[in-house]
Subunit: 190 residues, 2 copies
Amino acid sequence: MATDDLMTRALEALGDDGPLSAEAIHRLAGPAGLADLPATMTIADVAGLLDISPHTLRYYERAGLVEVARDGNGHRVYDAGAVRRLVFLTRMRLSGMPMRDLRHYVSLVDAGGHTVPERLDVLVEHRDTIRRRIRELTLSLTAVEYKIATYGGSTGPDVPAGGPLTGTGRTAPPDEPLRRTLATPTTMTR
Amino acid sequence: MATDDLMTRALEALGDDGPLSAEAIHRLAGPAGLADLPATMTIADVAGLLDISPHTLRYYERAGLVEVARDGNGHRVYDAGAVRRLVFLTRMRLSGMPMRDLRHYVSLVDAGGHTVPERLDVLVEHRDTIRRRIRELTLSLTAVEYKIATYGGSTGPDVPAGGPLTGTGRTAPPDEPLRRTLATPTTMTR
DNA sequence: GTTTGCGTTCGAGCGCGCTCGAAGGCATAG
DNA sequence: CTATGCCTTCGAGCGCGCTCGAACGCAAAC
């Protein structure tokens, strides 16, 4: 996934250390979350905070998404503003917004307050994209759940009559009966 | 979208012709959906059915995901089995399963009925991946919705004191107050 | 006949978002 | 003093999933 690398890693991280790690970024949500930030942070600090690599942080900077000051040694110094922006950017990336759009958004921010309406447009569009994606995933989820269910515990009603190994693979699991289930895609909470 | 190209196109398609087109694949869900398929289809037929390009269909075949017969002219002839498999594959791709996993799954199917347990493992894992992704997106959605809300109608409580255009961009919208909202991420239906 | 249209194979190319590695600077530890 | 470690810049490379184009075949339309 192009747009997906970050997400992919986040999802994989989930497997690593419990069901909370991919939500790392969301933990820094409240005023508290951003208030208890140190005044400045090193690249390693920020990388740890956002659960992305220093390489990626430098990449974002090169891409023009943030400006980061340097200390006497030429090392990056992330102030609260830069960190806040990176929190936002990472959230957007995680929810699938492409770099291109992020660059656009950032250019609007840097252009001044008069771009607020256009910024809102961007956000609203992204919100709708997320909603569509959730709906899409919910439908797929229902289909996959159905398929799992009809597989039985082991060998189910699939692998039916026409013997196994039959070339093109009618050995394949059922793709058919989904009508009622899909007609009621409210199953998400299951 | 590495993993994302298909999804991206699906999402873009949504914009094109109403809120239903990305769900094209889900329309062919029920037994009816698959029953009313012609006995055989051309590549253009299948491409239209699945809303993917003939190029992509050939690519899937080259990748070893389906076998497709040829007619006297060397043209592809998709039988019902191939189409069913492609419906499944497309669904999985749309929900983010990487080609790699799809190849693995298909190899299991082609290996015979004794691989059903392992196939189930794959499906269950993918189900969990989808669920995590939905949760992740739901959190992001809440954050974006909050941000939109606090932007006010135009210039909101953001773009506050410290004048606009101030370099690093405290001009940026609020990333702070999300605590209560995020603590109750049940807001998905809003 | 030629043209149009739809198909074929094959290998190369692309866009995305990282990801890496080389070559070096500076500072603290031993 | 020499490590060790963390940082720097820069450009190149990678993995993914398409996507494209060239060169060609066959068949129905005109």
